[in-house]
Amino acid sequence: MYDQYFDWRPVTLSVHVALLSVLVVACLGLPLARALARSNFPGKGLIESAITMPMVLPPSVTGYGLLLIIGKNGPLGNLGIMFTWWAAVLASTVVAFPLMYQSASAAFKGVDENFEKAARTLGAGEIRIFFTVTFPLAAQGIAAGLVMSFARALGEFGATLMVAGNIPGQTQTIPLAIYFAVESGDHEVAGVLVAVITLFSFVVIYSVNGWSRRKSS
């Protein structure tokens, strides 16, 4: 009925932002998790804590931190990404990164080192070992990390609002659209978007739990 009037742009924008964030998170998070999983050096704990911080920090603190970096007077201020789509991607990436890192790190550590050693004695090089042994054995945990970080990126609100603002059609993602719809009393719009994101989140959690159930059985 209201379909032709309904503004779906927050949904498509959110999906685009989340997909791009997950891509960045995977490209950076997987190699980092692999590198740190099998090494031990002073300062490793500090690095891991710094990576994980956005998971426990209030989103407004993460947002303020990003503001200091990409704001007008920040070191990356001249990129000019404040209040653009890219700032939303950045905010989502930073908050989704810990989820990917933690899942991948646990998955890599869970791979018995003897499998890698066996492959080594059979003549396999390190890259081959990664793609034929380590990665397939860690794949379930990595997939869970990808899905969780996608969901987290999709739901990012606080930091996004601070660095990307609320520009309909440009930086207004689903969570922002819900907030401002409720604020202006537009419960019809809010209801649809809430339903979309609730359904999606449920499917995510259900399938991630399903994977871990199957893994433990």
């Binding site: 003897n114 050693k117 004695t121």
Partner: protein, 249 residues
């Protein structure tokens, strides 16, 4: 049977396939290995914690010795003097892991083929693999995954996987410890048969006297220098596997 370290040096004229003389500092003692062997079965027998597995890992290139040398046929695999340290993947040393370490996400066939596929430019191996699977009695199992195999079957697959790449030396780490005693005897014979067939040196690590008696052409047990009190105090002492398979008349 275990000779002193000097004995190896007295039989220079005898051709050794494998010559080992290295030390490895572990956190509570120093491990030494000095032995020479030809194409026979050498058994390292000792209690758990005596460093037997570490000797194998150094030979395979999974651990690095603190000093000394390892020579296999005409190749120097490790030498602290020249700085040589051939990576594990180029050593041509087969390794049978204690828990077999079969790749759980691959079938029996894929496990056995894994090493062969790593060696490029060897296209003619396909028939060899069929023959290999056949000779290990694995044709029926070739489509199964490791979790669908019994302990004895797993070991057969692990042996086939290690031998499929035609190693020059096979290391077996406690190969029978995880098996029921009735299947142990069968697999001991199997290992002996394989040894005759492949004609390469086997080095087997065990704490089981029966394994040693049945399989070992020569058994080396660790000798300790320094007294047990020192061990308890955590002070360094030396434990060495010395011996030679080569008979000195």
């Amino acid at each position: 049977m275990a000779g002193p370290a000097g004995k190896a040096a007295n039989c220079e004229g005898v051709l050794a396939v494998l010559e080992v003389s290295f030390s490895k500092r572990l956190w509570h003692f120093t491990l030494e290995a000095n032995f020479r062997t030809d194409n026979r079965i050498l058994v390292l027998r000792g209690p758990s914690g005596s460093g037997k597995t570490t000797v194998l890992r150094c030979l395979a290139g999974l651990n690095r010795p603190s000093g000394g040398y390892i020579r296999l046929e005409d190749r120097t695999l490790y030498s602290s003097e020249s700085g040589a340290d051939v990576p594990a993947r180029n050593r041509e040393v087969g390794y049978l892991f204690q828990d077999y370490a079969l790749f759980p996400h691959m079938t029996v066939r894929q496990n056995v083929l894994y090493g062969v596929r790593c060696k490029k430019g060897r296209r003619g191996e396909q028939e060899d693999i069929e023959e290999m699977l056949h000779s290990f009695g694995l044709e029926q199992l070739s489509g199964r995954y490791p979790h669908q195999l019994s302990g004895g079957e797993k070991q057969r697959v692990a042996l086939a996987r290690a031998l499929a790449v035609r190693p020059r030396l096979l290391l077996l780490d406690e190969p029978f410890s995880a098996l029921d005693s009735d299947i142990k005897g069968v697999l001991r014979k199997e290992v002996k048969r394989l040894h005759v067939k492949w004609n390469i040196p086997f080095i087997l690590v065990t704490h089981d006297q029966e394994d040693a008696d049945f399989l070992g052409n020569v058994v080396i047990s660790p000798g300790d220098r320094g007294c047990e009190n020192e061990l308890q105090n955590g002070l360094p002492f030396t434990r060495s596997f010395n011996g030679s398979l080569l008979a000195c008349p």
